[in-house]
């Protein structure tokens, strides 16, 4: 709001931002610790949806809708499709928790520490002015195709490689089994 970027007088947006962050954290922890596979996927929905809300609060409207479209509308649907295809049971699945839990915990804590250090270090003094929108489709398009063209194109090549790989994998299996199954 005013010029004083103080931590002691947070604006309404900042308070909502922190609260949403807490909800995301809780949903993410539940997603990882839940023994019911579909519940884990649904907690993932909450976490990813919460992230979209965070983008909105940071005035990145376009990114928020893309987040909902891609992650909630496609990735989670794909996850649920896989879970239903493998007949995920109702109720806890004991095999969901392997013996690798401590290792996974260490790895996740280490990567979280790395990311937090990196982000804090990179954006230590950056301050977003929430009064002017920063993420309209115009601005995103401009920066994507002027400043970040090379990473964008590299990513599209990566996706193409993944697509070709998927086709190769599915074709090979089809030949081995004859014409059975779709």
């Amino acid at each position: 709001m005013s010029g004083g970027n103080g931590y002691l007088s947070p604006s309404g947006q900042e308070i909502v931002f922190v609260l949403t962050g807490l909800v995301i954290l809780g949903a993410a922890v539940l997603c990882v610790t839940s023994r019911q596979l579909v519940h884990a996927a649904l907690w993932l929905v909450v976490a990813l949806g919460g992230l979209a809300v965070q983008y909105l609060l940071l005035t990145a409207e376009f990114v928020a809708w893309v987040q909902v479209l891609i992650y909630l509308g496609s990735v989670v649907v794909l996850l649920l499709f896989g879970l239903m295809l493998t007949k995920a049971p109702i109720g806890p699945s004991p095999e969901a928790d392997g013996r690798n839990r401590p290792v996974a915990l260490v790895v996740s804590l280490a990567s979280a520490a790395t990311l937090v250090t990196l982000v804090v270090d990179a954006f230590r003094t950056a301050w977003i002015d929430l009064e002017t929108p920063h993420g309209t489709s115009d601005q995103i398009g401009d920066s994507l195709f002027r400043v970040w063209v090379l990473p964008f194109e590299a990513l599209s090549v990566l996706l193409l490689a993944a697509l070709v790989g998927a086709i190769v994998l599915s074709r090979r299996r089809g030949n081995a089994q004859g014409n059975g199954g779709s």
């Binding site: 376009f62 479209l69 509308g73 794909l78 499709f81 007949k87 109702i90 489709s137 779709s182």
Partner: protein, 318 residues
């Protein structure tokens, strides 16, 4: 924007959400009855049985709300809400008339609408899994497969219009509209409308709820109000799809006397498209699940890409 203005807009959107799907439902009763040469329910309320839907609603509200013993209770009970609420949210962004007759102008309106619509399908998936019923599970599987196939052509054809207008905002697209867009974007309109039908699981794309094969798909175990919510979500979906097609491809409020009668044009175009949706249910037999997949990948996606190429070419030439 003051509080009164916001309240009026929210109230108007809520009224549209509560009223229009019921009108479509009643329209479906009557249109199907006439097309099939039968009268249908004629007694409730007197004139042509107009109160039949009200009677149905009362019946649904009186029924016992059962949850199967083996079901996942919370997910099962939450599913109808997840299926219904996105349609309410989407209505906020659809412009009904010129000069700000819209719940809320959204900068990336096309993306917003398609993104939120995609969330609604999660309700069917949740219901399909949580019912602990093999028919429901099969229905959920078919829903998911269908959704993944038709999301792409839906997005591509909407992107074509956004390219033509040079904006992602629904109100902005309508401001740019001129009549020759209709023939220019005709293929895109066909792709969008058809893919939308498939996302709503309306006939001829209703394999996920095929009554003769898998009872009622993901909704098999539902009864009472929760079942009614799923039905309402279907009709609200028809309204939203028709309104979106009208706005994106048929010029929304554009028409004679658009300044005064813009809202009427939107409603008329939406109603005509709703009629088409109902007509399709009567006219075509159901496609098999594999035919549905094939149609999406071998017909709709190439058509959508061709439309984008056409849009791009013409945009550069002009």
């Amino acid at each position: 924007m003051d509080a009164l203005d916001v309240a009026v807009r929210v109230l108007a959107v809520l009224m549209a959400f509560l009223l229009l799907p019921l009108l479509v439902g009643q329209g479906e009763h009557k249109v199907m009855a006439h097309m099939q040469g039968r009268v249908g329910p004629m007694h409730a309320g007197g004139f042509h049985g107009w109160a039949q839907l009200v009677a149905d609603g009362v019946k649904f509200a009186q029924k016992e709300d059962t949850v199967p013993a083996g079901a996942d209770r919370r997910v099962f009970q939450l599913a109808p809400a997840v299926a219904l609420i996105p349609y309410l949210v989407v209505l906020i962004a659809i412009p009904f008339g010129p000069d700000g007759m819209v719940g809320q102008v959204v900068d990336a309106g096309v993306f917003f609408v398609l993104a939120v619509l995609g969330v609604g399908v999660l309700g069917s998936l949740m219901g399909g899994w949580a019912s602990a019923n093999k028919y429901s599970l099969l229905g959920g599987l078919r829903t998911a497969a269908q959704l993944m196939a038709y999301e792409l052509p839906l997005l591509l054809s909407a992107a074509s219009v956004a390219m033509a207008a040079g904006t992602l905002s629904l109100t902005g697209i309508l401001d740019e509209f001129s009549w020759w867009w209709v023939p220019w974007q005709l293929v895109g309109a066909f792709v969008f409308f058809t893919a939308g039908l498939a996302e709503l699981q309306r006939p001829p794309f209703d394999a996920p709820i095929a009554a003769e094969e898998i009872v009622f798909g993901a909704y098999t175990e539902y009864s009472g109000l929760r079942f009614a919510f799923f039905l309402l979500a279907e009709y609200a979906g028809i309204v939203v799809l028709s309104a979106l097609t009208a706005v994106l491809f048929l010029g929304g409020w554009h028409g004679p006397f658009a300044d005064q009668l813009g809202w009427l044009w939107t409603l008329l175009k939406t109603a005509a498209l709703c009629f088409l949706v109902i007509w399709a249910r009567v006219a075509w037999p159901r496609l098999r699940a594999d035919q549905i997949q094939k149609f999406a990948w071998t017909v709709l996606v190439p058509l959508a890409l061709a439309q984008i190429a056409l849009t791009g070419t013409l945009k550069v030439v002009i």
